[in-house]
Symmetry: C2
Subunit: 158 residues, 2 copies
């Protein structure tokens, strides 16, 4: 993968990105028509965008409820030490937890903010008691149950 930050994107590239961000399963022929280039050119451009890492993947979005993951929980985590080793250990362990969809190191009242999907509150309590507080170096967690998902994973505005 090339350094995507070096890629120079012209208008056609941007149109391809925007279109595929909205409809990732478009055929090359349709995509070409939408962005007003020939199918051959569109194919080459799109391939380049993948190779350069501008497009990191194309993924189907699954309705969480359809696969029994109706509950969304945000968790703020505070570690008991602020050493590089402490952060690395925590991050390594969190990467193994499939229920954790997002994990970000932040500046503020917490060290990390996690986004977690589980079946229900009972499931979360189990995860919290057995996994989260057992993660390396965790001093404290604060849980925010999501009561309503107003907007989830909106497309990038560019």
């Amino acid at each position: 993968m090339e350094d995507s930050s070096k890629a120079v994107l012209d208008r056609v590239d941007v149109r391809i990105l925007r279109t595929l961000q909205a409809e990732g399963r478009l055929t090359n022929a349709e995509l070409a028509e939408r962005v007003n280039v020939s199918p051959a050119t569109c194919h080459r451009r799109t391939q380049r965008l993948f190779e350069e890492g501008c497009i990191t993947g194309v993924r189907a979005e699954i309705a969480p409820a359809a696969v029994g993951l109706s509950a969304l929980v945000m968790v703020g985590v505070v570690l008991d030490r602020s050493t590089p080793e402490s952060f690395a250990a925590f991050e390594g362990a969190v990467l193994e937890l499939k229920d954790v969809l997002d994990c970000n190191l932040v500046a503020g009242d917490f060290d990390y903010l996690l986004k977690i999907r589980v079946r229900d509150m009972a499931d979360f309590n189990k995860l919290h008691g057995q996994k989260l507080i057992a993660l390396p170096g965790v001093r404290q967690t604060r849980t925010f149950f999501v009561m309503k998902e107003v907007k989830e994973n909106a497309p990038l505005p560019f």
Copy 2:
């Protein structure tokens, strides 16, 4: 769109979902091979999963840095009143803000948690001063700059 919560998913459906979640641009022929069914069957199953709303869409993931959106910020919001009208007004306004990727109503110290992508801190300060604190009913915000994205938008674990 049907009620996806009523759909009964068998093993083949689940394999299709998992596979398309990882590689949304697979051809039907390849998908059929991966899940061990005939192309015709695979095609009908996949179509059904879309129609039932189990698959809500297929989207290309764009590297944020490639389109000049390198900064990620989480923001906790507290409203000054907890009335249904107040919540509705806030939510309606937030849906218009393209920089806000996620917005969730939560239980805890905040009313809402937002996930925001912008170019840099200067951009965020402008957004914060001109748009966020001007949203209807906002009493207070707390900003968490993301210093490191450990995990972003991981696939659903099912």
